[in-house]
Amino acid sequence: MPVVEFPIEDISRIFSDYDLEYVLNMLPFIGLDLEHQDDKNIRLEYSPNRPDFSTFYGISRALKGLLGKEVGIPKFEVQANNNNLINVDPSVSEIRPYIVGMVAKDHKLSNKTIKQIVSMQEDLHNGLGRRRSKASIGFHNLDNVNFPLEYTTMENLSFIPLDHSSELTLTEILSNTEQGKKFGKLLKDSSYPVLRDSKGNVISLPPIINSESTRIRDGVKNLFVEVTGVDKKVVYNVLDNITVTLADIGFKLETVIRQQGNSRDTFNANLNTTLSNIKTDYINKALGLTLTSEDLIDCLRKCRLDATPNDSNSINCMIPSYRIDIFGAIDIVEEVAIGYGLYNIEPSLPKSRLYGNKSRQNYFFDKIRQAMIGMGLIENINFILSNKDIHFKKMNLSGTNFFTVNNSKSDEHDILRKSLLPSLLYSLSKNIHEEYPQKLFEIGPIFGREEAKFEKWSLSCVSAFNGVTFSEIRAILQSLMEVCFNAKFETKQSGNLSFVKGRSADILYNGNVIGQIGEISPLLIDSFKIKMPVAAFELDLTEFLRI
């Protein structure tokens, strides 16, 4: 989850007419999780579908709404300026076709504000921009940018990239800079998208890096921001979020015109979509409330949306373009709940009264557990993800038909267990200093490719102590089968390599093999370092119980 951090002082300054404690306590009720708080700063986690929460300004905007200090869609002006022009070369259409921009003037940037902007940029890159693959952002010092700009492609170029002191060629940027190595591979062609100003200076090589010459720093007053990308909707949404933030910071905004051939267009920063004719009944039914149209409008305005009555039973709702999380009427339901205040909603219970039961499968498993603990056995629960060493090598088996998972972060957990016995033996090996006898069992799912069903339920049992024999383990199995199921089974000599030769058997029930039983081979005792004789069985519960 992305985080946003800012000084608490910023909150107390803006909400000076409220008790600070009260304001801070409201943060979770707009969907922010407190991650850390000290004397000076506060760090909050926000949901990735709310990029408007990536700065203090966005959070303050929402808080003002919920507290009733400022409601409805935020209003700001954007002046038209025909000089702010980007000429788009058709060659970009195959590589990174979309570019939009905005000019922001007359506000002196402080380091604190830059920190907020940089953090917002980072979060937009990673979230909406999907690690810059869908969209990327450049902030520039407008005073060092000469309009009109040209957005085109080049195969060779050189400029001083951000955080560098000398010119680098394209090749050098791609192979020697951190950003080049990380983001260069997003572009597959031999030519690269470039934004140049009227003097021919490269100001940006999207999505890789900006120019050092247009860096924003403490004291800069005028900004130019550009967003490029391959997904038009995302590119627009990113600039929507930046624009409203720049307006909140206090900049005066100007449009940037995009020209390609004869067609011109301008990014409209004040675009609202309208969801029409949302039934008040629909909202009330979902929430279990009885709010009037006026109440609903009031709640929505507290969430910084606007709404008007449509007819006596429905409303129309306006959503600013930066609110990318709202798809349809059900999202308006949630906004109403938040605007109403979750703390104001009285929990109730549904009127329906139904009768429940546990699954047949778990009914059986519980009975098996009861019988097993009655014989003094202790239940284990092991991970399903295991490894080939424990499962096959130590078991003296050649592993086949097992499932592997891709890219596991742990070498010890990269296959799905094919049986439970290896983990129980491993468990014995970890407990060699504990008191004997050690009698363990486990019930759990196992996985194999050869079967009609990939997943089966299994029961395994081990008994370890000096002098344990086949008879001992058969006695456990026999008692279980008698006591739990009054089931008659047979054991028939088998050649399982994990057991002592001549002391292993298939367990047969109604003529089908449902498991193995035997004295564990000293080879395994050795490889697991158990140092004590072990007898064991494993039973296929899916086959036996037909579940």
Binding site: D33, S47, K285, P350, S359, N380, F403
Partner: protein, 508 residues
């Protein structure tokens, strides 16, 4: 001081300790005429009362090389359950058995019946012991040969006592030990721990108060005592009823199973029925039906376990058409059915829920599931790569967000958690979405427990549901950690017997 209520066994032990310091358990047993079990039990009790102190000594122990090989007839070392005959003894015995005192070396090798190696060793030792003297090619038997050698003296002693402490050997035996240790296959030396029992200072004060005239009477009640009617005429001796004894090693279910069962019962008591489903799921059910876009970060291999070489091509065409439409329209990309055929270890139990709702066409009801879910995470004290998730689901025409909150409060209260609050949050497949915060008295703080919400229309409409669906769920291990006071979640899957044997089945 006041007289303690001491058991007969305890009194015997205490009295026998008066004249001995640091006595071992075997000796104590023979001095008191008690069984080893009774002595051990008595010492346990007395130790608990602080009347005796137990110190641990280590000692070297000498015994036969292999206890079990005594009856191994294939051994040519002529061992049997009664004795070990050294080759030098067999040499002199064989001379004696011929009734001679002098014999030629060549003949002796034949009549001894020993292998070349054994004969060589035997001769060397017989000469060193002075049992034989050499005269040219002949050997003379001496008087000395009738006395046991130092080695034989040691073997004789071990034969009687089975095990001997090195520190208790006399000089002759010690010499025999030094010699025999160099000869493989006869004896071995091991280190063993010994418990030495002494009176504690408290114990010394108690001893004078013990009444020596121990009352006579019936100790352990046996079947014979009952059938003979002996008990009618005799008193029963008093026993110490205040002493703790050794606990039984009882069988038990895993603590996680206990919590799962408790939660299962809570669900059932609230009218929920349990459903089951696969752990391996297609991306279609795990993500796509649940309105999670195909480029969502949660679907990265970094976060989700994909199964190698396994696809599920059985994608319902009607559902997939609706899913494709919703994704393309609202998330603005081309939905790819190939990606939805990939298989994963389910990242949550919700695919089981939605599949069930889709297949059963349930329109009113309450269901729940409890099962293993997976995240490709590095394991740490607070993260596991697989854990248990619980999920409760209510479907109905009139169910609503307030009901969801109410059910949740009821659920928590049945777990003994009564302070609950709700905050908004985000899940791709629910709207509105809430998270619940619960106050844990034991920790003195609020913690985040289950997430919940109403299934989005994109989800319900894809599978043909028209009623509202409420769902809540979350990990179980967190509750287990609080209940069992764990700081490291991995301990739940360690299966340490010391831990499993100790956890209360029913923590108060």
């Amino acid at each position: 001081m006041t007289e303690l209520n001491l058991h007969k066994i305890e009194k015997k032990i205490l009295l026998s300790l008066v004249n001995h310091d640091k006595i071992d358990v075997d000796t104590l047993a023979s001095n008191t005429d008690l069984s080893m079990d009774n002595v051990r039990r008595g010492i346990e009790w007395l130790k608990y009362k602080g009347l005796v102190s137990v110190s641990i000594n280590k000692d070297s122990i000498v015994q036969f090389a292999s206890e079990k090989s005594n009856d191994d007839s294939s051994s040519n070392k002529t061992k049997n359950s009664n004795s070990i005959t050294l080759p030098e003894r067999r040499i002199v015995d064989s001379i004696r058995s011929k009734g001679q005192k002098t014999i030629a070396i060549g003949d002796l090798a034949k009549i001894s019946g020993l292998s070349n190696i054994e004969f060589g060793v035997g001769m060397q030792n017989a000469l060193r012991n002075g049992w034989l003297t050499k005269a040219g090619d002949n050997l003379n038997l001496t008087q000395n040969s009738e006395k046991p050698s130092d080695e034989e003296a040691l073997l004789e002693k071990i034969l009687k006592q089975k095990k001997m402490k090195l520190s208790e050997l006399n000089d002759q035996e010690l010499h025999g030990f030094t010699l025999l240790k160099k000869r493989p296959g006869y004896i071995r030396e091991t280190i063993e721990k010994f418990f030495k029992i002494s009176l504690s200072s408290e114990g010394k004060k108690v001893v004078p108060t013990i009444k020596k005239d121990e009352q006579e009477g019936i100790g352990t009640i046996t079947a014979e005592i009952l059938s003979s009617g002996k008990w009618k005429n005799e008193k029963f001796t008093e026993i110490d009823v205040s002493s703790p004894v050794r606990s039984y090693g009882i069988g038990r279910t895993h603590p996680l199973t206990d919590i799962i069962n408790e939660i299962r019962e809570i669900f059932v008591s609230m009218g929920f029925s349990e459903i089951e489903g696969s752990i391996i799921q297609s991306c279609f059910w795990n993500f796509d039906v649940l309105f999670t876009p195909q480029d969502h970060p949660a679907r990265d291999m970094q976060d989700t376990f994909y199964i190698s070489n396994l696809t599920d091509e059985n994608i319902d065409p009607i559902i997939s058409k609706k899913v494709s439409n919703f994704h393309s329209k609202e998330w603005n990309y081309d939905w790819d059915i190939e990606k939805s055929m990939q298989t994963v270890l389910r990242t949550h139990t919700t695919p089981v829920t939605i599949k069930y709702l889709s297949e059963s066409k349930l329109s009113e009801g309450r269901i729940f599931s409890i099962g293993r879910v997976f995240r490709n995470e590095k394991m740490s004290y607070k993260h596991l790569m697989e854990f248990h998730q619980i999920e409760g689901v209510v479907i109905g025409e009139t169910v609503n967000l307030r009901d969801l909150m109410g059910l949740q409060k009821q659920f928590y209260s049945k777990l003994g958690l009564n302070k609950v609050k709700f905050w908004p949050t985000y899940f791709p497949y629910t709207e509105p979405s809430l998270q619940s915060m619960v106050f844990i008295d034991k920790l003195g703080k609020w913690i985040e427990l289950f997430g919940m919400g109403m299934f989005r229309p994109e989800v319900t409409q894809s599978v043909g549901i028209t009623n509202n669906v409420l769902a809540w769920g979350g990990g179980l291990e967190r509750i287990a950690m609080i209940r069992y006071g764990l700081d490291d979640v991995r301990e739940l899957y360690d299966n340490k017997l010391s831990w499993l044997r100790k956890q209360p089945i029913c923590p108060l």
